[in-house]
């Protein structure tokens, strides 16, 4: 191979605004995630509850049309569209499990692949900072998780208003949109830190995937074992799932699933995020680009 006669030409374009320098990282991460085997199926499965709950809102509003399906003509409890309905969507075991599975697919390799293939030096020799790098990587997780949390939540409210053709629902539950936004952000931010933190501790994405899934399950199993032995609700604080459920119940102003102060679950969730941020800061260092 020789140097092409065509030669090298200088580029006379202009560089873009540096404020969005993390955006290509996110776009690229999303693109790569969609290329993964079975991801589209998984994504579809993660959105199935949203479709079912949306159908539930429609059925609840058009009860007259569906009377023939109900034996005594009374509205079933689960079709009462209120904060409990939303809480049921956001904190059910299946949804949380699917979020973890999405995280396994989209988050496991985000940093571990860069560590494995020495790509960090390619990133940090560009005009991007460590903050841009994390923001770009975290936004990949945020993108997928918000699609299954915030987006359906807001669509539920909107559709409820559309189907009922009145604002009565909003005036009855004025804080509901904030609960939806608050819980969606909480769970998304938590899983972003959770995913990035675990992705930075090992260079093997498969191992990271096992860690992401395993830690979630293990924490729940641990809670089950200790609760089984000691019958103490405080062991629920060991479980990632139970802490998220507790926080969800508080944000949707519902009865707490565990007899523990709600703020302890928030402390654990925030504490985990802080720990994740600290580890990420220590593990990813731009200065090591030049070895």
């Amino acid at each position: 191979m020789t140097i092409k006669e065509k030669g090298y030409t200088h580029w006379d374009g202009e560089f873009l605004n540096k404020k969005l320098s993390w955006l290509p990282i996110t776009r690229y991460g999303i693109k790569l995630t969609f290329r993964k085997k079975f991801f589209k199926l998984l994504f579809f499965l993660a959105l199935t509850p949203a479709v079912l709950f949306l159908a539930g809102i429609y059925v609840a509003e058009r009860m007259e049309d569906f009377k023939f399906m109900i034996s005594e003509g009374e509205m079933p409890d689960f079709l009462n569209i209120d904060p409990a309905y939303f809480k049921a969507y956001f904190t059910n075991d299946y949804m949380l499990f699917m979020m973890v599975m999405l995280l396994v697919f989209c988050g496991a390799g985000l940093i571990s692949d860069d560590l494995k293939f020495n790509s960090l030096q390619l990133y940090f020799s560009r005009p991007i900072t460590k903050r841009d790098y994390f923001l770009g990587k975290a936004s990949v997780i945020v993108f997928f998780l918000l699609i299954v949390t915030l987006l359906p939540g807001l669509v539920f409210i909107l559709m409820k208003l559309v189907f009922s053709a009145s604002f009565e629902f909003l005036s009855a539950y004025p804080l509901l949109p904030f609960s939806v936004i608050g819980y969606s952000l909480l769970v998304t931010i938590f899983f972003s830190f959770y995913g990035l933190f675990l992705s930075s501790v090992n260079k093997n994405r498969r191992y990271v995937a096992i860690l992401i899934f395993g830690l979630y399950i293990f924490s729940d199993v641990l809670y089950g074992i200790f609760y089984g032995i000691f019958r103490d609700e405080y062991f629920a604080l060991l479980s990632i799932k139970e802490n998220l459920k507790q926080a969800g119940a508080f944000l949707f102003d519902q009865k707490l699933p565990h007899d523990t102060p709600w703020f302890l679950s928030f402390v654990i969730i925030v504490g985990f995020c802080v720990l994740g941020a600290y580890v990420l800061k220590k593990k990813i260092r731009g200065v090591e680009v030049v070895k």
């Binding site: 191979m1 020789t2 140097i3 092409k4 065509k6 030669g7 090298y8 030409t9 200088h10 580029w11 374009g13 560089f15 873009l16 540096k18 320098s21 290509p24 990282i25 690229y28 790569l32 290329r35 390799g109 692949d113 860069d114 293939f117 020495n118 790509s119 030096q121 390619l122 990133y123 940090f124 020799s125 560009r126 005009p127 991007i128 900072t129 731009g286 200065v287 680009v289 030049v290 070895k291």
Partner: protein
Amino acid sequence: MSVEIKDLHFSYGKLKALEGVDLSLPSGAIGLLGPNGAGKSTLLRILLGFLKPERGEGRVLGYNIKTQQRQIRRYVGYMPEDDCLITNVDAVAFTSYLGELSGMPRQEAMKRAHEVLFYVGLEESRYRNLETYSSGMRQRLKLAQALVHDPKLIFLDEPTSGLDPQGRQEILDLIKDISSKKDIQVLISSHILSDIEAVCSYVLILNKGKVANQGDLQALKQLDYSLYELKVKGETESIVDKLKAMECRIEKTEDGMLKVYMPPGKSAQEIFRVATAGGHQVRHFVKSQTSLEDLFAEVVGVD
């Protein structure tokens, strides 16, 4: 001057990595040399804006190394020594992605990626997955990613490491072309002195955190000392000792030859005088061409 540094100091804790480094690098290809621990990586880290110097001032392409690190990295290209890639993509996606990270608009980055991949000779394999690339192709790709945003200055860290002779020559040809015809300044850090000699017109030698020598390569090779190669009959210890006493540096080669580096102001006759006085029979004597290797050994003080 693309790089100007004055009185640069940097320490890792108690370990002083750079002590009072002054630089003023001209255009063209510049070789950065030094033994391990000399401060080359620290200097590159500072020039790329990853470390803030404790003392001293500096500008890269006119940007302050203390306050304008992002701008520096926008206009500087970096080709790392390590094998590094991004998985599951082809060369076009890889290069354009890195162009985007440099701040180029998406379409422009894509167009430019094709151009630089053509330039480095990867046009036929640009749609192949990177994981199938050979070492030589990966080196070319690393060069392409460093060029994609059209930098004004490019840092090449061991650009020929791990390459076979043909691959090495091809990369060197590219570097020569970039530095001589494309108006891009090149700073090459390498342990392969012959590569530096083949490409660079100016060298900077660091040793123990200080600039041991810098200047035009040809001038440096000729001005500092004269090199003679000789072979003497019998034992060589006594003549070596006497020449060392005259401040000559001596190297023994594997075939029994003595390489004598004469300091300025001393002539070849001094060697014969010492040989005659010691009763040594000189069997072979030739004035040798000094190489960068000789200069490096002289400056750094290693054999």
